[in-house]
């Protein structure tokens, strides 16, 4: 994939980070506004696609670190399932930190943890997982296309058997 013109690249420089900010906003306010972990994670993963289209594959592959995205996927999944297990004296997926609406309006929330408890925390966990996973899918699919384009004609590519 070849890099696009300087106009597109400048637009990418200016606007690409706002995608990450907007996606983080959707993820973090998942319990208050429309959206949530899956939608916000998909918005964050759009960032990498935008960079791929604007700057081309070779620049992108020199920038990204796959281990980082893999660790994002693992961390998000483990945090999600760990939060589900932490409600276990009562039941799996019990919301152990949520307070009722009246108590939250009267000022009874736990400081930095949102009054909706594990709903907001699981939103963040799933958002991290989806952002890492979709970015990894974009990277791997682009690598597969490049493998197909650069392999000699008539040979089978993508398999070592």
């Amino acid at each position: 994939m070849n890099p696009l013109s300087v106009v597109v690249r400048k637009g990418c420089d200016i606007f690409a980070w706002f995608m990450v900010v907007f996606g983080a906003n959707v993820i973090i306010h998942g319990d208050l506004t429309p959206g949530g972990g899956f939608q916000g994670g998909a918005i964050v993963a759009t960032f990498l696609t935008f960079l791929l289209v604007a700057y081309g594959g070779n620049r992108l592959l020199s920038w990204v670190n796959e281990r980082f995205y893999t660790s994002l996927v693992g961390f998000g999944l483990l945090l999600f399932i760990g939060l589900a297990f932490m409600g276990f004296p009562t039941s799996f997926f019990y919301n152990f930190v949520s307070v009722t609406h009246e108590a939250a309006m009267a000022g009874g929330a736990h400081g930095i943890i949102p009054p909706s408890g594990t709903i907001a925390l699981m939103d963040i966990a799933v958002g991290i997982e989806v952002a890492g996973g979709l970015s990894l899918i974009v990277i791997y699919m682009f690598k597969g296309i490049r493998l197909y384009e650069t392999s000699p004609v008539g040979t089978e590519c993508g398999h070592d058997r």
Binding site: D31, P34, G36, M122, V126, L136, I137, G158
Partner: protein, 90 residues
Amino acid sequence: MKKTMFIAAALVLGGIVWGVLDNVHPFGDPLKTPVDDYYIAHALKDRSSENIVTSLVFDYRGFDTIGEAAVLFTALCSVTALFRQGGRRD
């Protein structure tokens, strides 16, 4: 013979579909609503989550969300296996 069987099967299937579609209750008028009413009444009061959909997805129906996360992880694994680098690496 084949054509007769096909026509008979089509008639039977069409009759079933027609009967099912004829019995569908009208839109906006569900048959049983106690669970919906419970969610709408209690999602904000008990969990203080203003987005009822999120409180459904992550609290009342948490097992579904584990399944969705597993679906995404499986898709990632299959893409990794399908598009991996072939050949010998040395």
